[in-house]
């Protein structure tokens, strides 16, 4: 699975980085930095996608 960020939606308050600290960090402005976009479709990833308050995260099958 590939994790995509819709940058026009993300407001950078960092919930995703808090939920997936091993996979997502934050840049100096607070916006998420993915450590590689290929992810296993595990529960933690799905939960983070669902939790994004801005609906900015999307998992795609590629």
């Amino acid at each position: 699975m590939t994790l995509e960020i819709d940058w026009t939606r993300c407001d950078g308050h960092g919930l995703c980085a808090a939920l997936l600290p091993d996979r997502i960090s934050r840049d100096e402005w607070g916006f998420p930095v993915l450590h590689g976009t290929k992810l296993p479709p595990d529960t933690a990833v799905r939960r983070a996608v669902a939790a994004c308050p801005a609906l900015a995260l999307r998992l795609t099958r590629t």
Partner: protein, 413 residues
């Protein structure tokens, strides 16, 4: 160190000249505008071409979009086969240094319409929309459309001229009545049933249909046949819109443009890259790629020792930051940070270059459109090249040269 300074003329009806035989610019040496009759006298009638023939021609010539992204036109036609798309001519030309598309629309509009209408007919599309951001181009296209029997299919739309608004997907949204902003999701103009290409691309297609694949390949390189248009400006005696065979060495263009002592060139526009003025660099997509750059939007700006290159860089970076549409966090915050870094570099702050390179990496690829990526490439390529200047600004308070503004920003017609 005296060179003839030539700023890109603010008047987009600026000079046109050619290296080799004129194709797209044919007739413009003798006519201010090619009307229907002078167009026919110059180019001859347009042979009919169905979709199969168009695809054959495009596959043989590999004609790619001339607006910056360089996407093959054949692939767009295939994606829209059977969908009766609207054909959109992107004449919004959002690169501030570029005037080539405006010159085409104002001075040889029939050639652009020939190409666009040929695509519309082949794909059985109903309409051709020409998107421009200046009234003179709009008037020229309307006049041309009124002179031809198929002109009733042509619609002219005045659109906003911002840098990012000229991005293909932003333009499609604006024509749909939406905001002139790139969408957040990955999608293409073709997903909206729209075949969009820039004005030069359609003019080149009209040339290709007339010449056929073999004569079209009489000039250019084996892999990139034909000619290209460049808007040439900066420290040259003869600025203007130039048609040249693809693969022409940079040195020939610099000599023909009367560049006195060229030291640096900016190729591809402000999403392009900086290069030393090495005469052997081949002006083609592959030639510039080999030099680590891009032909991009077909812009070639020359810098000599008369101006402070770092100051030029700082002006353009500040402009690029201001052009961010502000939708995406890394672009909205990162580009102004990058602009401040380059300004700090000019003022001799130690460590500013490293911070600028770090910020360039931080914005690269992190937006809904390519604006941050292009800006990062522009700044990074300059910083790698301008090490002597950086040293002078750091240790001697500057290079002692004024900032002449040879890289144009804003002030567009």
């Amino acid at each position: 160190m005296t060179t003839t300074m030539g700023r890109l003329a603010a008047d987009p009806a600026s000079a046109t000249w050619t290296i080799g035989a004129a194709r797209v610019l044919a007739g413009l040496d003798r006519n201010a505008v090619l009307d229907a009759r002078t167009h026919l006298d110059t180019h001859g009638p347009l042979p009919a071409a169905d979709l199969g023939r168009l695809l054959g021609l495009l596959d043989a010539s590999g004609l790619t979009g001339r607006g910056g992204a360089g996407f093959p036109l054949a692939a767009k036609l295939r994606a829209l086969r059977g969908q009766r798309p609207t054909v959109v001519v992107n004449g919004s030309e959002s690169e501030p240094a570029s005037v080539k598309d405006r010159v085409l629309l104002r001075r040889t509009p029939h050639l652009v319409l020939d190409g666009a209408l040929a695509v519309a007919v082949a794909l059985r599309g109903r309409r051709v929309t020409v998107a421009v951001h200046d009234a003179a181009a709009a008037a020229a296209v309307r006049t041309a459309a009124a002179q031809r029997p198929d002109g009733n299919r042509v619609r002219v739309e005045l659109v906003s001229g911002g840098f990012v608004a000229g991005e293909a997907r932003a333009l499609v949204r604006a024509l749909d009545g939406g905001p002139a902003l790139p969408p957040g999701r990955r999608e293409h103009a073709t997903d909206h049933g729209v075949l969009l290409a820039n004005a030069e691309t359609f003019a080149q297609l009209a040339v290709l249909i007339r010449l056929g694949r073999h004569r079209f390949a009489d000039t250019g390189t084996r892999t990139e046949p034909g000619t290209t248009l460049l808007t040439v400006g900066g420290a040259v005696g003869r600025p203007g819109v130039v048609e040249l065979p693809l693969g022409t060495p940079l040195g020939i263009v610099l000599a023909a443009a009367q560049a006195g002592q060229p030291r640096l060139v900016v190729a591809g526009g402000y999403h392009g890259s900086w290069h030393p003025a090495v005469p052997a660099i081949e002006l083609s997509r592959s030639g510039l790629a080999a030099a680590g750059g891009t032909l991009g939007a077909g812009v070639l700006l020359v810098l000599d020792d008369s101006t402070c290159a770092l100051g030029e860089l700082a002006r353009v970076t500040a402009w690029l930051a201001a052009e961010s549409a502000g939708q995406c966090g890394p672009c909205r915050f990162g580009l102004p940070a990058l602009a401040r870094d380059v300004q700090a570099l000019c003022q001799g702050h130690p460590g500013a270059a490293e911070i600028a390179l770090r910020h360039a990496r931080a914005v690269d690829g992190r937006g809904a459109c390519r604006h941050p990526d292009g800006t990062a490439r522009f700044v990074t390529s300059a910083l790698h090249l301008l090490q002597d200047e950086t040293y002078l600004h750091l240790h001697h308070g500057g290079c002692g040269r004024p900032v002449l503004g040879l890289l144009p920003i804003g002030g567009r017609p």
